[in-house]
Symmetry: C2
Subunit: 393 residues, 2 copies
């Protein structure tokens, strides 16, 4: 990956456990255009409150992130900890404090051990010469079983640029960004309005189209920094270059989002849920999310049980406009039901066969209009329960 | 239980499995005043469509119910099956077809085996002399592990009357009546408007205040029949007798609702969730239900983990108005957090102790107003996953 003007570092600050890197830094050699989206949860972590305020300037030059502690539900002390972290990093880098974004993930309600964070920051800043984006991707993992990375290259004005991203997820993933951190960097020059528009649209069909358990965290953050060091003419909103950039960005985000679902806590299945024929796209997404969040549907996926009736029940409870006599459903290419009733024939056997695969698609037709949506989810397994019953201990 | 003028029967129709009663009948010797509430799912079972239409008259004299098959997502054939069942029962009883309510529970999307139902109805009607309400409670069980019954007696105009009820639940229980059947009978004379008002209010604080997994079924039905055979002067709306009747009804319904939660699929904990200090009662219920439906919160209950931060995260994502600096939380009498942060001291050890009990209360204060709500839920265990991964097989 050739991405110009970014440096990386990760160190072990022993924030929660010994023996793993848990404090990481991304630094752009030049001030970058930056936008971000944060959790919509009314309970927001201290670093979210701080970073959301700072990003209004559409500028950032560094992102410091820790795992092992969410710094959420920590009150004034938590806010001071987030500010102090960013101040120390800014001093080490010789940049304004306001150019530092701060992010945290881990257990809620415990104060950040600032003595250890403070002690680790000098080595973190010094490590920028030798670190990689992979190091950061590993340092932000919590219950993740593998680091999540993606990169793509494109061209603008004859200049090649790269978009790279990392993410962490695992449990608590749902629409509107739940315990999920993702940091996207690009050396493309992109004007702030273009970056904002491209980014928000790409988030909508990627991170906001996945769900593992329907829960929403206090810490979700997705940030993009564009430092312009590729040297292309700055991409402006509404141009063909902006469309191409958005497509590239969407590919990176969708790949990261899908990696998150595949690494969903205890996931044994990766399921693409497509809803078509809805009265509106919003209705389609409502129905798709209701399916993706239904515990009954997800346990049936785990059990490889072609229980299409539970899926219709989820659609019916979604709030989307539904005429039950028009509903249809397929597992991959196997039509299980049409006109609201069982399709008959070999559907049961063939549908069960489809669900035995590790990845499959559920397609639901509402027969009412042209609205459609696609979301991605996992199953609900014994392992999910084990992980979450024991997570803190 | 002395309840006048009701007869009961249950037989084995072998609708799904051999060796258990799966077709039941409740018959009132006199036409009864009756009201009912049904699932709000847009996908409704055939018997729900039929019964909802008939109950508009506020009259019923019999309820026929089968387990083992939901008769949902079964189209026109399913409607014919529900109608034929009611017609045959009506003929056997010598009452109008419209006076028969029909209900089904079980697997979705499979046609009812009408040959077996047809063959079983004569014995069902004949059995009315010898059956009990207990027999009906057992016949409607699906994944329930025990039958659910409750009865209370009261007085109106110097006359003693009784309210008795049965229910089935287990999985798929959530607000607005999800896979749950409940049939309430009383020999009190109650005018239709009074019965309707008392019943709907009692449902709101009982069946609509419980949740096991947040799913909503296609078949939920809660019906009350008042046949007047106790001989009291008919209870009219807005009278002290109506208030007393409503209190009694609420006790019966709440007991049944709590039995359903205690028998929630795989439940090892019974949790009462109280939210106070909300801007409105509706906000309080929204917050309480968000807690009760959070997979992360429920797995923490299963793990006996005093993870109050997950509860705050659920409250924050509920849509209720929240100021995170005002939030407080207790497990039983142990204050875990106040002003949005950890309460300190022995809270962790004492809170964990509270969660080790089979039943405990979670109290959340929002600090904003006078709105309050109480809901009941269970934990999310390995057993839940096992039951629902295998339910159809």
């Amino acid at each position: 990956m050739d991405i110009k003007g970014f440096q990386f570092a990760a160190v072990e600050a022993a924030i929660k456990k010994q023996g793993r890197k848990d404090l990481a830094l991304i630094f752009s050699e030049a001030p970058a255009t930056a936008v971000a989206v944060f959790t919509t949860n009314a309970v927001k972590a201290a670093p979210v409150l701080l970073s959301a305020e700072r990003i209004k300037s559409c500028r950032a030059q560094a992102m410091v992130v820790n795992s092992g502690n969410a710094n959420a539900c920590t009150g004034e002390q938590g806010m001071r900890a987030a500010r102090e972290t960013s101040r120390q990093v800014a001093e080490g880098l010789g940049i304004p404090e306001e150019a530092v974004q701060v992010s945290s993930t881990g257990v809620i309600g415990v104060q950040l051990p600032m003595d250890r964070v403070r002690a680790a920051i000098p080595a973190l800043v010094d490590g920028l010469n030798s670190g990689t984006l992979d190091d950061v991707a590993e340092a932000i993992m919590t219950t993740d079983t593998f680091p999540k990375m993606e990169a793509r290259s494109g061209q603008a004005g004859g200049v090649t640029y790269t978009v790279a991203g990392i993410a962490k997820g695992a449990g608590m993933i749902m629409p509107n960004m739940a315990t999920m951190l993702s940091f996207i960097i690009t050396d493309a020059a992109v004007e702030a309005p273009a970056l904002d528009r491209c980014f928000r649209r790409a988030v909508e069909t990627s991170f906001n189209a996945i769900t593992v358990d329907g829960d929403m965290s206090t810490n979700d953050t997705c940030l993009v920094m564009a430092n312009g060091m590729a040297g292309n003419p700055a991409i402006a909103a509404g141009t063909p270059e902006a469309l191409a950039f958005e497509a590239l960005l969407q590919e990176v985000l969708l790949s990261l989002a899908q990696q998150i679902v595949k690494d969903g806590e205890g996931a044994t299945k990766f399921v693409e849920i497509r809803v078509a024929g809805a009265r509106s796209d919003a209705d389609a997404k409502r129905a798709a999310m209701a399916i993706a969040n239904s515990s009954l549907v997800k346990t049936a996926f785990f059990g490889q049980d072609a229980n299409w009736g539970r899926i219709f029940a989820a659609v019916g409870s979604s709030g989307a406009e539904v005429d039950q006599t028009l509903l249809s459903l397929s597992f991959d290419a196997v039509c299980m039901a049409k006109n609201g009733i069982f399709a008959g024939g070999d559907a049961e056997a063939l549908g069960t066969e489809a669900l035995r695969k590790k990845e499959f698609t559920v397609s639901v037709g509402l027969g009412l209009g042209n609205g459609s949506a696609t979301v991605y989810t996992s199953d609900l397994s014994h392992e999910y329960v084990s992980i979450n019953a024991d997570y803190r201990s």
